[in-house]
C-alpha cells in the first residue's frame, strides 16, 4: 500500500463501460424494491435490532442509488467542446467575426440527455451565427463592435438545467416574422395583427417557417426550429426565445437533469395502473357522479369540460387505450395535461400517488406504440406503463398544436377588439340558458328567502338602506318561479334606481364577441347567440324593466 502511495499521482479517473453502469443502475433499482418490501415487513416486527438494521439498509440504499445515478452524469462540456470549431468554421464561411463565450461548462446532465441535446444545441448555435450575428460592416453601421459575441450558459435551477444561447446580433424583426408567416399561410391577417411580441417569437417554432431570404447550406437546411423544439420537448424540456430587435436574441432551454428517474403521477383505470410524467401535469380535478352528469358536456358526442371559461377536450383513458367497455357514470378524476401546445383533460378512475419512477425502455416489439414512453416497476414489483402524453393526445385526436395556437390567438384578438363583452351566463327556468352583458349588472347578490317582503303584490328586499324590487326572470318568461331557499340576484341599475333580477343559477363569466340575432328573440331579450357552442338568449335588462313596469 505504502509503495503505491509514493508513486507519482495518476489520473484518478478510470474508463467504465456504459453497459456496466446501466446494469448497476438496474441492480440498484432491484435493491430499492427489495428494500421497500423488507421495510414493509420489518415495520410490524417486534425485533428492534431488525428494525434498526433495516433503517441502516434504507439509508445505504438511498445513497447507493444517488451514487450510481451520479456515475451517469456528464458535464455539458462534452457537447460544447465541439462548438468553438463549429463557430469558427461557420463565421469564416459567412464572413463574420464571432467570439464564443461559455459559462457553466461543468454543469452535469444525465448521459442520455447529453447525447440527445447535441443536435438541437448545434442547430441553435449555427442559427445564431448564420441569422443572428451581422457582418462586421452591418455591425459597424449599427454602432456595435465589429465582432459579435455568442454566449453559451448552463446552470442548475430547481432540479432542472437551463441552457442559454444568446447573441448580440440583429435580433428578431417582429414585422418580418409576421409577414413571412402570412406569406406562408401560417396565420391569418387578423391574427397577425393581434399577436403579442412573445407570440410573434413563437411563430418561429411553427413547422415550415423560415425568415432566411435564401436557403443557405448552413442552418437553413430545411430543418426548422420546429424540429429543435420537438426534440427538446421529447426530452421533457422546453425552449423559448427572448429577443430585442437590433440588440440580440436569447434561446433558453430548460431540461430535466435525468430521464432515468422522473417524478410521475400514478393513476388507475379499469384496474390497471399507469404512470404520467409530472412535467405534463397541469392540474387535478375530482368530479363526483352528479358533476360528471352535468359538468361534462358533449359536442356531437365529444366530451368537453369548461375549465374557467375555456373548453377543455376530454379524453377517457379507458376508451383511448380500449381497456374495456364503456361504463355507467361514476366519480372520476380529471387530470389536465399539457402536450406540446395542446391541453386536454384525461379522465381516470383513481389517482394513487406521485412517485419517483425509474424509466425503462420498452422492448423493440412495442416501440411502435406511441401511447407509451416506457415502463417502470412499482413498489410491489409489478410493471406499470408510462403514458406518453403527446402520443396519447394524438391517438385521441386532440387538436393539433397549430390549430390550438390559432384558436387561442383568435380568442385573444377577440378580447381586444371593441365588440367583445364580458357576459354573465346564468340559468333561468328549467332549461333555458341566458346571458347578460356584465356591464349592465351592478352586483351579484344572494338573499335568503326569509328576507323577501311583500309590498303591494311585489316582492322586495331591503338592500343597502333601499328597497330593492325583485323581478323573477322565470316568471317574466312564463315559467314557474323556482322555490329555492336562497335567491340568486343580479342587481341591475339605471340611474340611481336598482332592480333585482332573480335567476336560478349563475353559471360563468366569459369574454365573447356579441353578435345576437334578432330572429326568434322573445320580448325582454336582445335575441340569441351561440356561446360556447350552446344557443344562449341574451337578456335585455332595460326591456325587462319595462315589461314589469319598473
Amino acid at each position: 500500500m505504502v509503495a503505491h502511495e509514493e508513486r507519482t499521482p495518476v489520473d484518478p479517473r478510470i474508463r467504465v463501460d456504459v453497459r456496466l453502469l446501466d446494469r448497476l443502475m438496474n441492480l440498484v433499482g432491484e435493491l430499492v424494491l427489495a428494500r421497500n418490501q423488507l421495510l414493509q415487513n420489518a415495520s410490524s416486527s417486534p425485533d428492534n435490532a431488525l428494525v434498526s438494521t433495516c433503517q441502516r439498509l434504507n439509508l445505504i440504499t438511498t445513497e447507493l442509488q444517488e451514487g450510481v445515478m451520479k456515475t451517469r452524469m456528464q458535464p455539458i462540456e462534452n457537447v460544447w467542446n465541439r462548438f468553438p470549431r463549429v463557430v469558427r468554421d461557420l463565421s469564416q464561411l459567412c464572413g463574420k467575426a464571432v467570439k464564443l463565450e461559455m459559462e457553466g461548462a461543468s454543469t452535469e446532465l444525465d448521459k442520455t440527455i447529453i447525447e440527445a441535446i447535441g443536435d438541437p444545441l448545434t442547430h441553435l448555435v449555427r442559427n445564431s451565427v448564420d441569422h443572428g450575428i451581422e457582418t462586421p460592416e452591418q455591425r459597424a453601421a449599427a454602432g456595435k463592435q465589429a465582432s459579435g459575441t455568442l454566449r453559451l450558459r448552463a446552470y442548475h435551477e430547481g432540479g432542472r438545467v437551463n441552457i442559454e444561447i444568446s447573441d448580440d446580433g440583429r435580433g428578431i424583426d417582429a414585422e418580418r416574422v409576421k409577414s413571412r408567416a402570412l406569406e406562408r399561410g401560417l396565420i391569418t391577417p387578423e391574427r397577425a395583427h393581434a399577436l403579442l411580441p412573445h407570440e410573434v417569437h413563437g411563430l418561429l417554432f411553427l413547422p415550415g417557417f423560415s425568415t432566411a431570404e435564401k436557403v443557405t447550406n448552413i442552418s437553413g437546411r430545411g430543418v426548422g426550429l420546429d424540429v429543435v423544439k420537438s426534440n427538446i420537448e421529447r426530452l421533457g424540456g422546453s425552449v423559448d426565445i427572448d429577443s430585442q430587435f437590433g440588440r440580440g436574441t436569447t434561446f433558453r432551454i430548460r431540461i430535466p437533469l435525468t430521464l432515468a428517474i422522473i417524478p410521475a403521477l400514478v393513476v388507475g383505470a379499469h384496474g390497471e395502473r399507469f404512470a404520467i410524467p409530472q412535467v405534463n401535469l397541469v392540474e387535478l380535478l375530482r368530479l363526483d357522479v352528479e358533476q360528471v352528469k352535468t359538468a361534462i358536456e358533449r359536442i356531437h358526442g365529444v366530451p368537453v369540460y369548461r375549465l374557467r371559461g375555456n373548453l377543455l377536450p376530454l379524453v377517457e383513458l379507458g376508451s383511448v387505450l380500449e381497456l374495456g367497455p364503456e361504463r355507467a357514470p361514476r366519480d372520476v378524476n380529471m387530470i389536465v395535461l399539457q402536450a406540446d401546445e395542446r391541453q386536454f383533460g384525461l379522465l381516470v378512475d383513481d389517482i394513487f400517488d406521485t412517485e419517483e419512477i425509474v424509466v425503462k425502455p420498452l422492448g423493440r416489439e412495442l416501440k411502435g406504440l406511441s401511447t407509451y414512453a416506457g415502463a417502470t416497476i412499482m413498489g410491489d414489483g409489478k410493471v406499470a406503463l408510462i403514458l406518453d402524453v403527446v402520443g396519447l393526445a394524438e391517438r385521441a385526436g386532440v387538436a393539433a398544436a397549430e390549430r390550438q395556437i390559432a384558436r387561442e390567438s383568435v380568442d385573444r384578438s377577440v378580447v381586444r377588439s371593441a365588440d367583445t363583452q364580458l357576459l354573465l351566463l346564468f340559468r333561468s327556468g328549467a332549461s333555458s340558458r341566458m346571458a347578460i352583458p356584465l356591464e349592465s349588472v351592478a352586483r351579484l347578490e344572494e338573499f335568503s328567502r326569509a328576507r323577501v317582503e311583500h309590498v303591494g303584490g311585489d316582492d322586495v328586499v331591503q338592500y343597502r338602506g333601499e328597497i330593492l324590487p325583485l323581478v323573477y326572470l322565470s316568471e317574466v318568461f312564463g315559467e314557474a318561479r323556482a322555490e329555492n331557499d336562497t335567491l340568486q340576484v343580479l342587481v341591475h341599475s339605471h340611474g340611481n334606481r336598482h332592480v333585482g333580477l332573480v335567476v336560478d343559477a349563475i353559471e360563468d363569466v366569459i369574454e365573447q364577441e356579441l353578435t345576437a340575432t334578432r330572429r326568434g328573440g322573445r320580448a325582454g331579450t336582445l335575441g340569441s347567440a351561440v356561446i360556447q357552442g350552446r344557443v344562449t338568449e341574451i337578456l335585455d335588462a332595460e326591456a325587462v324593466r319595462g315589461l314589469v313596469g319598473g
Partner: protein, 158 residues
C-alpha cells in the same frame, strides 16, 4: 458429404406441438410470472414481466401459431430468449428436458405448412417417438413486430 454435429435444444410444448430452441439462445426458464397487459398491443403480446428489474415482453406462442388460447387453470411457462437489445419471453405450455440431437436427424419443415408458421421453424428433428420443431426465436419476434406494424398501419388508415 456432410459432417454430423450435435446441438443441445431446450424443449417445450405448445398445444400438441413439441418445440426446441438452441440452449445458447435461452437465458432462463421461469414458472408463470405476473404480467402487466399492454393495451393496444397486438394480441400475441401478452404483457410485460418484471424479470429482476429488467422489463421483458411476453409473447404468447399459442397466439403466434394461431392456436386456441390457453385454458384458465393452465398458467403458461416462460422461456426467456436472450435478445440483442432486450430479452423476450415466450409463453409456452410445459417445459421439457434439454436434449442433444445430431444434425443428420434434421429435415426442412414441410412445404405444406402455412408460410407464416413455416417461417418460424428452422427444421424438423426426427426423434424416435415424435417430431421436434426447432424454433427460430428471432423470427417469432420478427413476426410479432410485423403484425404490430400492420396493426398500426390499419389503425392509422381508419
Amino acid at each position: 458429404m456432410s459432417v454430423t454435429t450435435t446441438s443441445q435444444l431446450c424443449t417445450f410444448t405448445v398445444d400438441d406441438l413439441f418445440f426446441g430452441v438452441e440452449v445458447t439462445k435461452v437465458q432462463e426458464v421461469l414458472r408463470f410470472q405476473p404480467m402487466t397487459r399492454v393495451p393496444l398491443a397486438p394480441g400475441m403480446i401478452s404483457g410485460l414481466i418484471n424479470l429482476r428489474g429488467q422489463i421483458v415482453t411476453a409473447v404468447d406462442l399459442r397466439a403466434c401459431l394461431g392456436l386456441a388460447p390457453r385454458g384458465d387453470g393452465e398458467p403458461p411457462m416462460n422461456v426467456v430468449i436472450r435478445g440483442s437489445e432486450s430479452s423476450v419471453s415466450l409463453l409456452v405450455d410445459t417445459i421439457g428436458d434439454v436434449i442433444e440431437v445430431s444434425s443428420d436427424s434434421f429435415e426442412p419443415p414441410p412445404s405444406t405448412m402455412r408460410a407464416a408458421h413455416r417461417h418460424m421453424i428452422a427444421s424438423i428433428c426426427k426423434l424416435p417417438r415424435q417430431l421436434l420443431l426447432v424454433l427460430i426465436p428471432e423470427r417469432v419476434l420478427l413476426l410479432t413486430q410485423a403484425s404490430e406494424t400492420a396493426g398500426r398501419a390499419a389503425g392509422s388508415a381508419r
